[in-house]
């Protein structure tokens, strides 16, 4: 697929885009951009611009540049009149554009869409904004700013021809490994080494000089032995652009190439105006050449034995000695991005280890032996394994926050387009769920939120008339409840129209029961049927009848369910319940005849041997038992799964009382085998497509290597209860 470089670029850019979107939306809400926001947006756009240019995605980088300009203007001149909504639109449009391009890139395409229109619009907007605020629309901000800065500073400004780097500046190296290579040694011994000093001038008005300079560096890096350049911090230092514009971009390097070859290389530079290239005798003659010593220190700390091998240090003593900066991001490296498949692999391995542990500690060969020390060591192993498992599991857990915040954008766009007023309130967005869930929940949430705003929230006038607040509210909440994560989308709109839904259901012929027998919930659930829409007019957002069926299929694929409740005039609530089905669960294994079954432990409320006559039958032959004054149905596993040779007499077997939601039922097995951590493995597809409603959700390997089928109490519940 994509190259690692591109992958990182996509990943980073996406993160920035997400950040940008959030800031922009937040700012709009507050009615203006705080200084911090402006800086953040500026920085994000600046970085995107830089990396996009590096990857040669000009459309993206120029667009980022034009947006950056707006924020540069806001930041520097602090104009009084700032149309936050319009600027937010610009930022969001740019974000959308880039996001599409990133998707394209991710899919293996090239980001080739033209951003011309957006850019032109952005430029015009900035111009108008400058005029509005009484500024000269053609003012070159960067220049103005740097002039100001240099006059404030020691006078050694960027506009003055300053061949010597400013002392406070830190050294910046490209490719830290290069100087450490034995290459420099060749300098003294072989005569093929050429030393060059080049100054590259870009065309007037080509813009983004710093990025283009970076391109030159990238290009040259491959062909030279050692390379230094001024200004040193091209992308980090804002004054760099100006320096390059005025004084050219200065490169100092040693290379095997001869003069003509170097010239040919540099001549290829895009937007090149003028090139000054001169060859000098040795690095000592260069105006700027950081010492080998400092490089060696950066490359290899405490490398005494290597030092003597270095060529004699010929330092340009007129230049101040500079301390190289530590590798970029060196101390801030507390986050690391890991590919998901690596995590999955790790998870699989931990799973295998859990099985292997059980195979060792519950090995049949150990039966009946006195193994005090072994047991002790085994307990220790078990504890560590447990912790390892938890940690691996935690690695995959991500807060719902990101997904939730995406909904802000949807509500904003829709209310704007539909002329409605609504706000989105997030509750419990820090709830953590498995990454898998987080990914699959995004689309369903989007559809439900859309639906809430489009169909639920009324127009402002209607709301006022109904005595409600003009501004509608959509509450998106998440919480962990037992083994499930519960996500609710609640709006205070008009609620679902039962009659209309029924009518449409009748028309579509999807009624499953006589109408009089349908419960409210069943009626509401029709909205999830494919092709179902009660809306007469198809809008941009909903009404086409596609979408809501995606909700159900997506959530079902996660093993969850969706419930809709609605109160006419008060709004509706959509509840999504998704089991936190983690791949490793604690399960109680039971035997039935020659088969083994495993029940997730958190569903078992108790297990006991029923007394004689405790289980009774109703006239239809269904069995039940009284437990704590409640009548619970009983199923016999051997009966359900047609297993021969199982214990048929309840008093000889064991009854597991399972609890799902608010109902309880008994499951009869032969014997308890014990509690074990089990790794859930899917039933092979070949088989799973043949079985649909058995209540088996997967299988697992027991300590002795045999296979146990995992019973999903929820499914069994659905089989038993209507």
């Amino acid at each position: 697929m994509a190259e690692p470089m591109v992958e990182v670029f996509i990943f980073e850019t996406r993160q920035f885009l997400e950040q940008l979107e959030q800031i922009a939306l937040g700012s709009e809400e507050q009615g203006g951009f705080s200084e911090e926001d402006v800086n953040e947006i500026f920085r994000a756009m600046h970085t995107i611009k830089g990396s996009a240019a590096m990857m040669m995605f000009d459309q993206v980088s120029t667009l980022a540049h034009s947006v950056e300009d707006i924020f540069f203007y806001i930041r520097e001149l602090k104009p009084a009149k700032v149309d936050a909504t319009a600027i937010t639109d610009i930022v969001l449009n740019a974000v959308d554009f880039m996001r599409i391009e990133m998707d394209k890139l991710d899919a293996g395409g090239t980001p080739d869409m033209s951003s011309e229109e957006l850019r032109a619009y952005t430029k015009d907007f900035l111009r108008n904004m400058k005029l509005d605020n009484g500024h000269d629309p053609d003012i070159d901000l960067r220049k103005a700013k740097n002039a100001k800065k240099s006059s404030e500073a020691t006078g050694e400004g960027a506009s003055a021809p300053a061949p010597e780097p400013e002392p406070e500046k830190k050294q910046y190296y490209i490719g830290a490994a290069k100087p450490a290579a034995p290459a420099p040694a060749a300098e003294g011994t072989s005569g093929t080494q050429h030393v060059f000093e080049a100054t590259v001038f870009f065309q007037q008005g080509c813009e983004m000089e710093e990025v283009r300079a970076f391109g030159v560096v990238n290009n040259m890096k491959e062909k030279v032995k050692e390379l230094h350049y001024l200004p040193e911090k091209i992308l980090e230092d804002e004054s760099a652009t100006d320096t390059i514009r005025n004084m050219g971009f200065r490169l100092f390097f040693t290379t095997d190439l001869n003069y003509d070859e170097v010239k040919a290389e540099l001549d290829q530079t895009i937007f090149l105006d003028r090139l000054e290239l001169k060859e000098v005798g040795s690095v000592a003659e260069l105006e700027y050449w950081p010492s080998q010593e400092t490089i060696a220190i950066t490359a290899l700390e405490n490398s005494e034995p290597i030092k003597p091998d270095m060529p004699p240090v010929q330092r340009d003593l007129s230049g101040p000695v500079k301390k190289p900066a530590p590798a970029k991001g060196g101390d801030g490296a507390q986050m690391i991005t890991v590919r998901v498949d690596k995590l999955d692999k790790l998870m699989d391995l931990v799973g295998e280890m859990v099985i292997a542990e059980a195979m060792v500690t519950q090995n049949p060969d150990l039966k009946g032996m006195e193994l005090d020390n072994f047991a002790k060591a085994a307990r220790q192993l078990h504890k560590i394994n447990g912790e390892l498992q938890d940690s691996v599991m935690a690695l995959r857990m991500v807060p719902l926050e990101g997904t939730f915040k995406k909904m802000n954008r949807i509500v904003r766009d829709m209310t704007k387009k539909l002329g409605k007023k609504a706000r989105l309130v997030l509750v419990g967005e820090s709830t953590e769920v498995d990454k898998n869930i987080n990914e699959h929940i995004s689309d369903p949430l989007m559809h439900i939120v859309r639906n809430s705003v489009d169909h639920g929230i009324e127009m402002p006038e209607v709301r006022v008339e109904a005595g409600k607040e003009e501004m509608g509210t959509v509450i998106l909440s998440a919480e962990n409840a037992g083994g499930e994560v519960v996500i609710k989308i609640k709006d205070d709109g008009g609620g679902l129209n039962k009659e209309k839904i029924l009518e449409r259901a009748r028309k579509n012929g999807i009624l499953t029961k006589p109408e009089s027998e349908l419960t409210d919930r069943e009626i509401y659930s029709f909205i999830f049927a494919p092709g179902f829409s009660t809306k007469e007019a198809v809008t941009e957002f909903s009404g086409r009848g596609v979408g809501m069926d995606v909700v159900v299929s997506n959530i079902k694929s996660l093993g969850g369910k969706v419930i809709v409740d609605s109160e006419p005039g008060q709004g509706s609530t959509t509840t999504i319940k998704i089991p936190l089905t983690l791949a490793i669960i604690e399960g109680m294994s039971v035997s039935v005849g020659g088969s083994r079954f495993t029940v997730p432990i958190n569903y078992i409320s108790r297990s006991f041997r029923p007394e004689d006559g405790a289980i009774f039958r109703d006239p239809d032959g269904s069995e039940m038992i009284m437990v704590q004054g409640k009548c619970c149905p009983v199923v016999r596993l051997y009966d359900m799964y047609g297993i021969p040779d199982a214990i048929h007499e309840p008093t000889d077997g064991i009854l597991l009382l399972l609890e799902t939601g608010d109902s309880r039922f008994g499951v009869m097995a032969d014997e308890l085998l014990g509690v074990q951590e089990i790794v859930v493995k899917p039933v092979p597809k070949y088989i799973s497509r043949m079985m649909k409603t058995t209540g088996i959700s997967g299988c697992t390997l027991l300590g002795d290597g045999s296979i146990s089928l995992i019973i999903d109490p929820q499914q069994v519940h659905n089989i038993i209860f209507d």
């Binding site: 020659g594 047609g642 039933v683 092979p684 088989i687 043949m690 079985m691 649909k692 089989i719």
Partner: protein, 171 residues
């Protein structure tokens, strides 16, 4: 079959090679390239609600693999498993499946020119047979393994209906 073309170069050494196994009185052959391994019969975990010929699942070094009794798959009388009974594990498009056969014999090379298509009979038996190979005087029925995965097998649903009645009783 497109795969064959793509894999041609790699498959050269495996081309025209078949693993032969016995099933009742007949000798069958299966392309060696889909065979992963041959294991002895072992404990099979029964799974509910599947056709009779799917005997269940086995644990092959941590992988869970469904096993199919070939006698039953061809709608014949099932046979007692003996210590000659083998499970031939094959991999078709990344789906692993074990075929229970009476016993494996050898790996044979059957030249393309010695392979003939089966006669088109009304009885649908031949649909699992791609072609018939000749080895001297004897014949080998070459298995069309893709068909083993076909979903439109009626017997697949026969058992389902009986399962459903069980469930309805439970309800």
């Amino acid at each position: 079959m497109e795969d064959d073309k793509l894999l041609m170069e790699d498959e050269d050494t495996q081309k025209d090679k078949y693993l032969t196994f016995t099933l009742g009185d007949e000798v069958y052959g299966i392309d060696i390239k889909v065979v992963i391994e041959i294991i002895g019969i072992q404990k099979i975990t029964v799974v509910p609600e599947v056709p009779e010929y799917v005997k269940g699942i086995i644990n092959l070094r941590g992988k869970i693999i469904p096993v199919v009794d070939m006698h039953l798959r061809f709608r014949r009388q099932g046979k007692e498993y003996t210590d000659r009974t083998c499970i031939v594990v094959i991999d078709v498009n990344d789906v692993l499946i074990g075929l229970i056969v009476d016993g494996v014999s050898e790996v044979l090379t059957i030249d393309e020119k010695n392979v003939v298509p089966p006669p088109e009979l009304k009885a649908s038996q031949n649909k699992y047979i791609r072609s018939i190979g000749k080895i001297g005087e004897s014949v080998v029925l070459l298995l069309d393994w893709m068909k083993l995965f076909s979903e439109d097998d009626q017997s697949l649903f026969d058992d389902m209906s009986s399962e459903e009645t069980v469930e309805q009783a439970a309800e």
